[in-house]
């Protein structure tokens, strides 16, 4: 047996791969669930905070800025570990899943609020004044005039940030969630063969590579305005 054969036998063992493929697929489903929940909840919360901030109440704004700074400064893994081990709800079913979901949602909320807010503030004051003078209310101006222009500007940085944070779903394996990496790790320790891990790596590439390429495409497409 040559070295190359031995390498294939170890890392691309067909028997092992076939045996653990169902596990990895099941894990992929969990990864997609967490990712979907995080993206929807995080972006909506971020937008909501940015809109609240545009009202301009000083105490409220200070609070929003503090929360945003907090979740930008803390490593996601620290937040997950804190919620998982710290909060006294460890008896709840699927607590690891919930802890990961909450943590990444808060992180994405913080980063997307910053980006949405930067987009809103980049709209010239004249737009506000013109819209208000035609009789639109504050809310109407914000939703119908400012946001459509602001969102355009925020799409490329928002996409890249969302992808980067969504990759954090792999952190769920640290708090015993059976997503791709968690499934693969336990498969490796059960079978004493690293092939499931190779499969997991391929699985992540299948999930995230299209997103990264899409983000790159979006960035070049939207670059005309700079």
């Amino acid at each position: 047996m040559t070295n190359w054969d031995r390498f294939l036998e170890t890392f691309f063992n067909a028997k092992m791969m076939a045996r653990y493929l169902p596990d990895i697929l099941q894990g992929a489903l969990v990864t997609i669930q967490i990712a979907g929940l995080v993206i929807v909840c995080g972006l909506l919360l971020g937008l909501a905070l940015a809109l609240l901030r545009s009202i301009g109440l000083r105490p409220l704004n200070l609070l929003i800025v503090f929360v945003v700074d907090l979740f930008r400064a803390l490593p996601p893994l620290v937040i997950i570990v804190f919620i998982y081990f710290g909060l006294p709800a460890s008896g709840v079913k699927n607590w690891g899943f919930i802890a990961t979901w909450l943590s990444l949602t808060f992180v994405l909320m913080a980063f997307s609020e910053e980006i949405f807010w930067a987009g809103i503030t980049s709209i010239p004051k004249g737009q506000w004044e013109a819209a208000r003078s035609t009789g639109l209310s504050f809310g109407q101006t914000l939703i119908n005039v400012v946001l459509p222009q602001a969102l355009r500007l925020t799409i490329p940085p928002l996409t890249n940030r969302t992808i980067a944070i969504t990759k954090g779903t792999a952190l769920a394996s640290v708090v015993a969630v059976g997503e791709i990496l968690g499934m693969a790790s336990s498969a490796v320790s059960n079978s004493y063969n690293p092939s499931p891990l190779t499969m997991a790596a391929i699985g992540y590439l299948i999930l995230f590579l299209p997103l990264v390429v899409f983000g790159r495409w979006l960035e070049t497409r939207m670059a005309w305005k700079r």
Binding site: A73, P75, V78, I79, A170, V188, L197
Partner: protein
């Protein structure tokens, strides 16, 4: 409530353990940030110096490959996979390799955008005064490129420092790892709360600075 989350007695006991962890986190950051920058520099300078598609596309694929890979997966793949290939490797070496590959790809993208933002007239003028290609890159193009993408570079550096918490998964005794050790010894989450507070105090100034820089950058883009 206070007894559980901010137990003064446990905090006092855990403090020296956490402090050792903080030292390791800082040490790790001082190693992996330059390592990632080096990787990014190699990628970006190569990509912008050779315009041949045979150089450009493989580099782009390399960068996208490592940007699509969650860093934790890369780290576990190295840490759990390499021993099967007969390579004995420490957690620290795994972290270094993983960060070189992962954060190098991110830094590479940022620096490439920076280098491309410097007008080609700068290169032409420098070359016509007799500077070599390397000299032009080092003394004329790179300083301007770095200045143009400074917010992004800082933002990525913040992410890298935060990412060192992944070291806890491969038993690197950094801040989070130490906090979890202390927590499992005392059956009390206070050390984790304390570790989170340390991270926050350490990184908050950088977050504030970035938030200012980013707002300014996006407003100027109009």
């Amino acid at each position: 409530m206070l007894d559980t989350f901010a137990n003064a007695e446990i905090a006092r006991q855990a403090w020296p353990i956490l402090l050792a962890g903080l030292g390791n986190t800082l040490l790790l950051s001082v190693v992996v940030v330059p390592l990632g920058l080096l990787g990014g520099l190699i990628l970006s300078v190569t990509a912008t110096s050779f315009h041949h598609p045979l150089v450009r596309y493989p580099l782009m694929a390399w960068v996208d490959f490592f940007r699509a890979f969650p860093p934790l997966v890369l780290l576990i793949l190295l840490f759990a996979g390499l021993p099967f290939a007969g390579i004995q490797i420490t957690g620290f070496a795994c972290v270094c390799i993983a960060f070189f590959l992962n954060t190098g790809a991110y830094y590479g993208e940022i620096l490439r955008a920076g280098i491309e933002s410097v007008p080609s007239g700068q290169t032409e003028a420098a070359r016509s005064t007799g500077l070599g290609r390397l000299q032009t890159m080092l003394f004329v193009v790179l300083p301007q490129a770095v200045r143009n993408v400074l917010p992004d570079l800082l933002s990525n550096t913040l992410e890298v420092v935060k990412l060192t918490s992944l070291g806890s998964v491969v038993a690197m005794p950094e801040l989070l790892f130490q906090a979890r050790q202390a927590q499992s010894l005392t059956y009390n989450p206070t050390p984790i709360v304390l570790a989170a507070a340390v991270y926050f105090v350490l990184l908050w100034p950088l977050v504030r600075l970035l938030s200012r820089l980013e707002n300014r950058a996006l407003a100027a883009r109009k």
